[in-house]
């Protein structure tokens, strides 16, 4: 438990300065020293892309740009995966993927999920890994954060007069206002939210690349391979048959895998493999990297929007949820594995499916954090967790806004915040509003749709799958078998990507069903709040005061937490009762 608390303290200690940095580096409304540092690189990239870096988009253009780029990326990745056998950078001669696994893989990585229905080192060429996989591992977290930035500018940012901006600009050296007044250049008056490509570039260049470089260097130091040479063939000490050890540019990929809430590792068994996670220090770095950017994002948004207290309230709910499930999982994994009852190891914690070198606590902590943040990388097998541990993992993914994926975690929280604001406004006798903007039927219809999609997709696909057992092909019948199916779709919808495994999930049904869950789970909860923010921006803003709903007070924070529990978790309770809870209660 001490290790757990230390990790939380370390996480917050590191996220604080990073968040402050991100808040300054990513705010397009002010000039900072970072502009001089990164400006030239960004200028070149922008010029290559033919984008005016001071341009700005309307919310609908932004949304369209996100969708267009992702369709393009999915198409490209799909083609690369299917034809990798014919393409260069394939020293191990890996053949092309079949169409459905390739489509699933493309969509899975394009949605920041990295759910893998294949084994990385054996089924992907270096070209696929570096060009398709790693590109998406950078662009997808950047996209989540970019959409959050657009929403922040639109909805959260306090109404500052334009004089603040010009004062800032005038205090910086003349002729050096890199993208500082995107609002001023917006073609449609004030109804613009920033520029998708400008945001994307800034996030990759200013945050993801430097951090990944840092983490990759630490990992290389700790012994993670980083090479473009093919697999190494070694002769074992006992002089027997030669063993082939796959390798490649592993360290850089692992860095962005952990930092970018991606989760898809170089090797199939992910960070359980010593080559991907060699030492205690590497494990610590990779664990902190899971939540680092999501936590820092809260601070960054607080800085950019000026709503520090709101972000503190949100952070408090997230930390509370995080501590509850982490404690549940850690305690559960300290209990012995029921399957080992009566054996000599009885009484030890549940080490089945765990690396003995990490032990139960660090495996449980990773499991908890990786499901909270929609990362999905593992350093232990989730399938082998005790039932209550599995319950904690599932709860993390149902909620999916306990920090959540980069950008999208907070966006998802905003969805619940909107619902809470709707109910809260009524409770103080005002027509529903959010930040002084009226929430009306159109907004509620789309918010409702985004909320409805989760049980519809997860429970619907689970029900169909278990109703036709010929499709399921899972290794366990009964309660645990249900948990496995439920976990797979939950992981896909939550864009988590971790697996309970034990499913024959390389088949077309699984691939296509998961593609549906992945796409809906990614784009609906991410883009509906953007649209709502855009609609709200066009409405009048009521000044906030004594008579209006304060989103910062303890009562409202509690209301939001209650809405998350009742609207989200309660819906999944029956399924949880039939899965992990029944499994736990029927243990011998």
């Amino acid at each position: 438990m001490n290790a757990m608390m230390l990790c939380y303290a370390l996480l917050i200690g590191l996220a604080l300065p990073l968040g402050l940095y991100m808040g300054r580096a990513l705010d397009t409304d002010r000039s900072t020293v970072m502009d001089r540092l990164f400006g030239p690189v960004e200028s070149v990239l922008m010029r290559l892309a033919g984008v005016d870096r001071r341009a700005s988009m309307t919310w609908s253009a932004y949304l369209l740009a996100v969708l267009t780029l992702h369709l393009l990326l999915i198409g490209l990745a799909w083609i690369v995966f299917m034809s990798q056998g014919l393409l260069p950078l394939n020293p191990d001669g890996i053949p092309g993927m079949n169409w459905d696994t390739a489509l699933h893989t493309a969509v899975s990585f394009a949605t920041n999920t990295n759910q893998q229905h294949y084994s990385g080192q054996a089924q992907l060429s270096y070209l696929s890994q570096t060009l398709a996989i790693v590109t998406l591992q950078f662009l997808t977290p950047a996209t989540g954060l970019a959409v959050l930035l657009a929403i922040t500018r639109t909805l959260l940012k306090r109404q500052t007069s334009s004089t603040t901006v010009s004062t800032n600009a005038s205090t910086t050296p003349a002729g050096h206002g890199v993208g500082h007044d995107s609002v001023g250049n917006c073609s449609v008056g004030n109804y613009c939210v920033g520029h998708y490509y400008v945001d994307l570039t800034r996030i990759v260049v200013r945050v993801l690349l430097p951090l990944s470089l840092l983490v990759a260097l630490v990992l290389v130091w700790q012994g993670v391979p980083a090479t473009y040479q093919g697999a190494q063939s070694v002769t074992m000490l006992d002089g027997g048959a030669a063993q082939v050890i796959p390798r490649g540019p592993v360290a850089p990929m692992v860095a962005i895998k952990q930092l970018g809430t991606n989760g898809g590792g170089w090797y199939g068994p992910n960070s359980t493999v010593p080559l991907e996670n060699p030492t205690g220090l590497a494990n610590l770095v990779e664990t902190i990297a899971l939540l680092l950017i999501p936590v820092a994002t809260l601070i960054a948004v607080g800085v950019i929007s000026g709503r520090r207290r709101l972000m503190m309230g949100i952070g408090a709910v997230m930390i509370a949820f995080s501590l509850i499930t982490t404690t549940l999982i850690v305690v559960s994994e300290r209990l012995p594995n029921a399957a080992l009852a009566g054996l000599a190891v009885e009484g030890s914690p549940n080490l089945e499916g765990k690396e003995v070198r990490f032990g139960s606590d660090l495996s449980a902590l990773w499991g908890s954090w990786t499901t909270q943040t929609s990362n999905g990388s593992v350093n232990a097998m989730h399938d082998s967790f005790n039932p209550l541990g599995g319950l904690g993992l599932l709860m993390d993914m149902f909620v999916n806004v306990t920090f959540g994926g980069i950008g999208v975690g907070l966006i998802g929280y905003l969805l619940y915040l909107m619902l809470a604001a709707f109910i809260g406004s009524l409770m103080i006798g005002r027509a529903p509003e959010l930040f002084g903007k009226p929430l009306e039927t159109r907004e509620m219809r789309w918010i409702s749709l985004a909320i409805l999609a989760q049980p519809l997709i997860i429970l619907g696909l689970t029900a169909i799958t278990v109703a036709f057992p010929s499709l399921t092909g899972n290794s366990n019948p009964g309660f645990h078998g249900l948990s496995q199916v439920l976990y797979e779709y939950t992981s896909a919808f939550a864009n988590n990507g971790s697996g309970f495994e034990g499913l024959g999930d390389g088949a077309p049904w699984w691939n296509l069903a998961c593609v549906l869950a992945l796409a809906v789970g990614r784009f609906l909860p991410m883009l509906v709040p953007l649209a709502v923010a855009g609609w709200l921006m066009e409405k009048r803003t009521a000044p906030q005061g004594r008579g209006t709903l304060s989103l910062e007070g303890g009562a409202f924070v509690g209301l939001t937490a209650g809405v998350i529990v009742i609207v989200n978790l309660l819906g999944f309770l029956p399924a949880l009762v039939l899965g992990p809870i029944a499994e736990q209660l029927t243990l011998p």
Partner: protein, 676 residues
């Protein structure tokens, strides 16, 4: 016909079980159920259970009795919801009906080109002119275009003191059913049959034709979504349970569904909306749409006319202040005598004050009265012997003094300013070319109004006083009454401008007015409240009309609006929070037969699966009638900040809703447990 309506109306105010049951059953028809998705799902669930009951009785070992009881409880749930709506509607109609009853069989004297003809009131069209003679009832809503008369409006307002209505003034509007007491009027009818204010109001309280208000619509979307979510949850539970080898009982699943979907708020939502309109009606406020009532709750800025709202209306003389060297008794006498012929309340109050202070005022002989005019801004007496006395606006009098070759005393300006600063209106008195002094006319602020404004400030509502007074007077009254802001020397244009400014800052603005020149501002305001005595233009432009013509009504409107919204929010929260306990009662019961270990989730230790499920559905059903009085009466609105209100309501309806069902379900289980 009028008699029948009154009879019906008085019936609606009491609960009569049999007609109510009949009305509730009548509302089971699919078309009226379809308007409410939540209750429609309950109704379908009832049908499913009924079918299952039929099958269970024909099979061996079927749980026929249990299924039958669940079916009946579900049916009761729907009927309770219907009864709530029917009761709210009956109350609303009763109020509207008693207002309408008075004009059931009115006849009208329609003025035509060839003369006059007598027609039934319901044949009058907009634009018709009717002649009304003293002692008759006004046949239709309209505007006096010729004549003046005193009218008894007690049929509309309950107030029996007659009021004066006159053509060409701001008080030219008349309502159908009110009685002309004196004189003779020509009234131009302003509405077609079925479109009068009352007809519109009745539509707001009639369930079938009622239009949902904006936030009610948005809430319905949310409730429908939650219903769908739980429908998905329960339907997908069947294959999942089968996969792990559990056979689920259809009846229990329907019971689970009905308990999870927000039936409490779903069942009471129409009743809450209707009751909100009815409360407005009871306050003699006639809303033209439900939206107007709802928006009242969100008002940020209240524009209040000083006269009648903040002050009693009539200024009264409170002090005679002589200039240096002038005898007080001389000032008193001249001021008093000048006012003897002045019929205005101000004039009378000067006479009263002078006499109270011991002056003996004799009617002037050989004097001609110089009436007040807006041009000269003075009035007074011209005596045959050439003497002239004047009283009037200080600067007008000062000019007169100078024209007459007199001198303005040195302390005159100071006197005028002192009186103005205290919120009073100075009136200067002149004898020949000697300026005698000043009379102070003070506004009398209504008792309790400052507390009312304090409460509004607490609730975050900004109050702005509108007055035609000069800035100094306005500031003093504003300070005394405790309004947040004031506008002095206000014109209708200035009012309109102010409303636009406030709206541009994002605020919702409410105002009250009666004059034709108020009409643009009334239309611009988010909540425009016209006095019933006001002109037709004002009443058309407004979205609410106050039958009492009481300028203080804006405050009641705000309260009624807030009450409507809070009641909805509170019951939504309560309904959702109830789900937790119901889960703990029903889920173990559904699975316990196949997986006994799941009985461990039964934290309430209920008697048997059947009694657990029944206890939950019975609780779910009984909550609706238990809360009908609450829905009809509305949550009490307290003057508190939004945060305090949210904390309080969350504690009562959120936490209360979370905890209450546990003991309640346990209690029901203890009562019915022995039967199963």
């Amino acid at each position: 016909m009028a008699m029948m309506q009154t009879h019906e109306a008085s019936q609606g105010l009491r609960v009569r079980p049999l007609p109510l049951l009949g009305e509730s059953l009548r509302r089971l028809n699919p078309r009226s159920l379809a308007r409410n998705p939540v209750m429609a799902v309950v109704a379908i669930g009832t049908l499913v259970c009924a079918l299952y009951t039929g099958m269970a009785f024909t099979e061996d070992g079927g749980q026929g009795a249990f299924a039958l009881i669940v079916t009946l409880v579900l049916l009761a749930t729907v009927l309770f919801a219907n009864a709530a709506e029917a009761m709210a509607e009956a109350r609303g109609k009763a109020h509207a009906g008693s207002l309408r009853a008075t004009r059931g069989e009115l006849t009208a004297r329609r003025v035509t080109q060839s003369g006059e003809e007598t027609v039934a009131a319901d044949q009058l069209r907009r634009g018709d002119r009717v002649r009304v003679i003293a002692g008759e009832l006004i046949p239709a809503d309209g505007e006096i275009i010729q004549g003046a008369g005193s009218i008894n409006e007690s049929a509309m307002t309950g107030e029996s003191a007659p009021v004066l209505r006159e053509a060409g003034t701001d008080n030219s509007g008349v309502s159908a059913g009110t009685k002309l007491l004196s004189d003779e009027l020509i009234v131009e009818v302003s509405v077609d049959p079925g479109e009068s204010l009352l007809d519109r109001m009745i539509a707001l309280v009639e369930g079938a034709s009622r239009q949902k208000t904006p936030s009610e619509l948005a809430l319905s979307v949310l409730l429908s979504t939650l219903t769908l979510v739980f429908l998905i949850v329960v339907v997908t539970l069947v294959p999942m349970a089968l996969f792990v080898g559990i056979e689920t009982s259809t009846v229990m699943l329907v019971a689970l569904l009905v308990c999870l979907i927000p039936t409490t708020i779903g069942g009471l939502l129409p009743a809450i909306g209707i009751a909100g309109m009815e409360r407005a009606l009871r306050a003699n406020l006639i809303a033209k749409s439900g939206k107007a009532v709802e928006i009242a709750g969100s008002i940020d800025t209240l524009l209040l006319d000083k006269t009648g709202t903040i002050t009693l209306g009539d200024r009264r003389a409170t002090e005679f202040a002589p200039c240096q060297g002038v005898d007080l008794t001389r000032l008193r006498e001249i001021a008093g005598v000048c006012s003897l012929q002045d019929p205005t309340p101000e004039g009378r109050s000067i006479v009263v004050l002078a006499r109270d202070q011991g002056a003996t005022l004799d009617s002037p002989q050989n004097a001609e009265v110089v009436p007040f005019s807006a041009m000269s801004r003075v009035s007074g007496l011209d005596f045959a012997d050439g003497r002239c006395w004047r009283k009037g606006a200080p600067n007008a009098i000062a000019r007169l003094v100078q024209e007459a070759g007199g001198r303005v005393p040195g302390d005159f300006e100071a006197l005028v300013e002192r009186i103005s600063r205290h919120g009073a209106t100075p009136l200067a008195v002149l004898e020949g070319n000697v300026l005698l002094g000043v009379i102070a006319l003070s506004d009398v602020i209504k008792t309790g109004i400052a507390e009312r404004f304090q409460q509004l400030r607490e609730m975050g509502v900004k109050t702005v006083m509108i007055t035609g007074d000069n800035p100094i007077t306005a500031a003093a009254i504003a300070a005394e009454a405790g309004v947040d802001d004031y506008i002095a020397e206000a014109t209708p244009e200035r009012k309109l401008e102010l409303i636009r400014e406030e709206q541009a800052a994002g605020r919702l603005v409410a105002m009250m007015g009666d004059g034709t020149n108020d009409a643009p501002a009334l239309a611009q305001a988010d909540l425009g409240l016209a006095m019933n005595s006001g002109t037709q233009a004002a009443r058309e432009a407004a979205n609410m009309v106050d039958l009492d013509s009481d300028p203080g009504k804006l405050l009641s409107a705000v309260e009624i609006g807030k009450q409507l919204l809070i009641t909805r929010g509170a019951l939504t929260t309560f309904s959702l929070a109830n789900d937790v306990a119901k889960y703990f009662a029903i889920l173990p019961a559904i699975f316990a037969a196949s997986v006994p270990a799941l009985g461990g989730l039964d934290v309430l230790d209920l008697h048997s699966p059947e009694s657990a499920v029944l206890s939950a559905v019975i609780f779910n059903a009984l909550v609706i009638p238990a809360l009908i009085p609450f829905a009809l009466r509305g949550v009490r609105v307290r003057a508190a900040s939004a945060s305090a209100m949210l904390r309080r309501n969350l504690l009562i309806y959120g936490l209360g809703g979370l905890l209450l069902p546990f003991p309640a379900i346990k209690l029901i289980d203890l009562l019915i447990g022995p039967l199963f």
